[in-house]
């Protein structure tokens, strides 16, 4: 993996003449987790799509990129709310999808290693419909890890999981993505307080920074400062709603 760069986005976006967000100035520090909160429709997912290069339909006016000035293409991995596993491929084939799509030989040893890291070694040959929701999301995480990109964009990847699996996935993801530049879009104040080195709230007025709890991620769910930031985030989101 190459060195994780910091990201920036400065500008405004519209779709078919309808503004998605106004003047926005977002900084995503290198090698850390940045959590972006905000109410529905404020344009969080558009921000993610712009970084991913998937915003063909968006008219963006401004600057977006990495602080090291290199192109973002080829340095970004993405994980969404839906696991996006291809149902006709086995778990191992899904994990190796990126190599196949680029016409590269897939590294079977690395696939096994990555699956072992997410606890799915014994499910390598299973089909996705044989997995539980938590296992499917772990397979999606393995696919993201297999890409080995310095920038990882996460679009509410844990929101469809039950509380137990969500907590486990948060811990696993924080562990395996350590050192990468991670931008996590989330609706959950608790998730942001637990995982964010930096926490930002996106509103129609722009980006507001909220101090994150001290300490490395993932933080304990019941740590006093985590609970305090969680409560403060919730209050701010309610104010903005």
């Amino acid at each position: 993996m190459s060195t994780a760069p910091s990201l920036f986005l400065r500008g405004r976006a519209a779709i078919d003449g309808t503004p998605v967000f106004g003047a926005l100035d977002l900084q995503v520090p290198a090698g850390r987790w940045t959590c972006l909160l905000g109410s529905s429709g404020v344009g969080k997912s558009t921000v993610l799509k712009l970084f991913a290069g998937l915003a063909d339909h968006v008219d963006f006016v401004g600057e977006i990129g990495a602080a090291d000035s290199d192109d973002l293409a080829g340095r970004v991995a993405m994980m969404a709310q839906s696991d996006l596993l291809l149902p006709w491929l086995s778990v191992a084939q899904n994990v190796a999808l990126g190599a196949k799509l680029r016409g590269e030989a897939s590294d079977a040893a690395k696939v096994s290693d990555v699956l072992a890291r997410v606890g799915l070694a014994e499910k390598a040959q299973s089909m996705p419909d044989a997995l539980s929701g938590g296992q499917r999301q772990r397979a999606a995480l393995a696919r993201t890890l297999m890409e080995d990109r310095p920038i990882v964009l996460l679009d509410e990847p844990f929101s469809a999981l039950d509380a137990k699996n969500r907590a486990r996935m948060q811990e696993l993801t924080a562990e395996v993505l350590a050192g990468r530049t991670v931008l996590l879009i989330t609706h959950e104040p608790a998730e942001a307080a637990r995982l964010g080195h930096f926490i930002k709230i996106m509103t129609d007025q722009g980006i507001e920074d909220v101090p994150a709890p001290i300490g490395d991620v993932p933080r304990a769910v019941d740590a006093p400062d985590v609970l305090e930031i969680q409560a403060r985030l919730l209050a701010k989101l309610r104010e903005d709603a």
């Binding site: 290069g53 291809l86 006709w88 680029r102 890409e147």
Partner: protein, 246 residues
């Protein structure tokens, strides 16, 4: 009551109604032969029926194979190229406004009285349903899969063959299931216009000689063959094409 029991009961009910109409209407056998007479003819003319059924099935199978291949490739071409969509789709829709029955004499003129004019009829009749079903499925690929593939650095070509085509195979299967029912219609129309063999030819011959029992027997053989072809196609589709599901 489900499955084969329901099918058998429905067939028996149909035969009973048929016999009832013959009895109540007191119809002569050259207008409506009873099921008993048709069954007797089926047995007595089994060799003739078998030989002609082989010819029709050969036309249907070749037409089905070529129609599936051409329809599949056309759908992929249309899905891959906006230019092809703009140029070819209006032509495809227009082609459906031309009654295929009207094409049969022209195809016989161009391709002769043998196998290929019937294959062409079967192909023409199934081309649109196969192309249309597969194309629609190709255009409905989950956009998040396509986004993921783009982020992974996939080319359009690989996205087509590794994601869009496998994801759209159930749509292709729907087209094939329709094609298995339509293809025999095409072959029979072709045989009616000009042939010296086949079930369609046998029906016309029997009609001309007032052998309506043989006509009914040919029709029953054709219906059974179509059902078998549909069942075989369905089995093939379930085994090989329906595995992509979202």
């Amino acid at each position: 009551m489900t499955g084969w029991r329901a099918g058998l009961a429905s067939a028996l009910l149909g035969i009973a109604l048929w016999q009832l109409i013959v009895w109540l209407g007191d119809l002569p056998k050259f207008i409506l032969p009873g099921p008993g007479l048709v069954a007797e003819t089926l047995w007595k003319s089994r060799v003739t029926l078998f030989e002609n059924a082989l010819v029709t099935m050969a036309e249907v199978l070749v037409g089905l194979f070529l129609g599936a291949v051409l329809g599949g490739l056309s759908a992929i071409g249309l899905a891959a190229s906006p230019m092809a969509r703009a140029l070819v789709r209006p032509m495809l829709v227009f082609s459906q406004a031309v009654p295929v029955f009207a094409l049969a004499p022209i195809l016989t003129l161009w391709l002769g009285y043998g196998l290929w004019s019937k294959v062409a009829m079967a192909l023409i009749i199934i081309y649109f349903p196969v192309t249309s079903s597969f194309f629609d499925a190709l255009m409905r690929t989950n956009p998040d899969w396509l986004g993921l593939a783009r982020v992974m650095g996939a080319s359009k070509h690989r996205i087509m063959w590794r994601i869009r085509v496998p994801a759209a195979l159930p749509g292709f299967a729907s087209g094939l299931r329709l094609a298995a029912v339509y293809a025999p219609i095409g072959a029979i129309i072709g045989e009616w216009v000009g042939a010296s063999k086949g079930l369609g030819y046998l029906m016309l011959l029997a009609n001309g000689r007032a052998k309506i029992d043989l006509m009914f027997a040919s029709l029953i053989v054709l219906a059974v063959l179509t059902l078998c072809l549909h069942a075989a196609t369905d089995l093939f589709c379930r085994k090989f094409l329906d595995r992509a599901h979202s």
